[in-house]
């Protein structure tokens, strides 16, 4: 399947302190990823991120997860907007989700619990990517998993209708939690995602976000020659 020969990225990992980043990067590389993003890296993790930048073989990026707290959300997004790291807000209630998608500069809204047509329209207008946490399918069983699947199906419908970019992540906390791109595509098939959509969610969309975050980027449609 030539579809799975591209570059794949996982933008939401939580490696353990110590050698967690290096171990996770090694396993991710073995599984066929071209890069991972470490969520809120510590000072020690930062060194590894810098080393990876220099080697160029496998990329490690930084992700800032903005805590979904009512008072600070907008300010925090504005504060980190100009940073090189990718901004993620984990979806909470409807009010906070609305505040997140309305604020310019947010990159990814991960698994919103309450998502509707109004929020989807705003997210589409502000080029916010919708994240699907495949880890929630892997790590839950029974009723909890059913709820997650229902939620993800609804989110997928909104994303398709309003043309929102999608991203897949396995929310890994250790190297045992990482799943290869083909496995991720198979799991996303459970919520009705096609293979092409899954490929775009792991390859095309992350590359687009990285391009947007690069220093050369000016605005959508404008390129410096």
């Amino acid at each position: 399947m030539a579809l799975f020969d591209g570059k794949f990225y996982d933008f939401y990992t939580h490696p353990a302190p110590g050698n967690g980043v290096a171990l996770m990067a090694a396993v991710a590389k073995k599984y066929g990823y071209s890069g991972i993003a470490v969520t809120n890296p510590t000072a020690n993790d930062q060194d590894i991120v810098d080393i990876a930048d220099k080697t160029g073989d496998f990329s490690i990026f930084q992700v800032f997860e903005i805590p979904a707290k009512r008072a600070k959300l907008r300010d925090e997004i504005k504060k980190h907007k100009e940073d090189a790291g990718i901004l993620i807000v984990k979806g909470a209630d409807e009010y906070l989700t609305r505040e997140a998608v309305e604020t310019e500069g947010l990159d990814i809204l991960l698994q919103p619990q309450k998502f509707n047509n109004v929020l989807a329209k705003i997210a589409s207008d502000n080029s916010v990517t919708l994240g699907f946490n495949i880890g929630s399918i892997i790590h839950t069983r029974g009723e909890a998993r059913v709820r997650e699947l229902v939620l993800m199906r609804a989110n997928l419908k909104h994303a398709r209708k309003y043309g929102i970019q999608m991203i897949l992540t396995c929310d890994s906390h250790s190297h045992y939690d990482i799943r290869s791109p083909r496995e991720m595509a198979a799991l996303s098939g459970l919520i009705g995602m096609t293979e092409k959509e899954a490929f775009d969610a792991m390859s095309t969309t992350p590359l687009g976000i990285l391009r947007k975050k690069s220093p050369d980027y000016v605005q959508e449609g404008i390129e410096i020659l």
């Binding site: 073989d57 399918i137 892997i138 250790s174 190297h175 045992y176 799943r179 198979a186």
Partner: protein, 122 residues
């Protein structure tokens, strides 16, 4: 009495690699695959996939399923996270139409590639 060859289901053989904290026995893995698939697809879904664990040596193994249900099989393997409290991750290495193909192309080839010095991540 045997099923007529024309009435037999077409099968696919999926080679997989297990990464775990401790070595997992064949019985434990077989039970866990069944539990995972049953939890994900239910009894009727499992009967559609019609899977069985053919071989497993503690690291590599082969599982058989019906042709056209390999995606479901892959998803069921990916959902396994723990066996007897031991963390585990299963990677489907490849799919073949014969056991020999799965063994030669994916398991032996992986072992050959591993024996060669590999650049490690720094």
């Amino acid at each position: 009495m045997k099923t007529l060859p024309t009435l037999r289901d077409k099968k696919r053989y999926m080679a997989f690699e297990v990464m775990s904290e401790q070595v997992i026995s064949r019985a434990e893995l077989s039970h866990e695959i069944f539990a995972s698939a049953c939890s994900l697809f239910g009894d009727t879904g499992c009967s559609d996939i019609n899977f069985s664990l053919l071989s497993y040596d503690g690291k590599y193994g082969i599982v058989r399923c019906v042709r056209g249900k390999t995606k479901e099989m892959r998803a069921a393997l990916a959902c396994i996270t723990k066996v007897r409290g031991t963390r585990i991750s299963i990677l489907a290495v490849g799919i073949s139409g014969t056991i020999k193909g799965a063994m030669e192309k994916f398991i032996q080839q992986t072992l050959i590639n591993k024996s060669e010095p590999d650049k490690e991540y720094k």
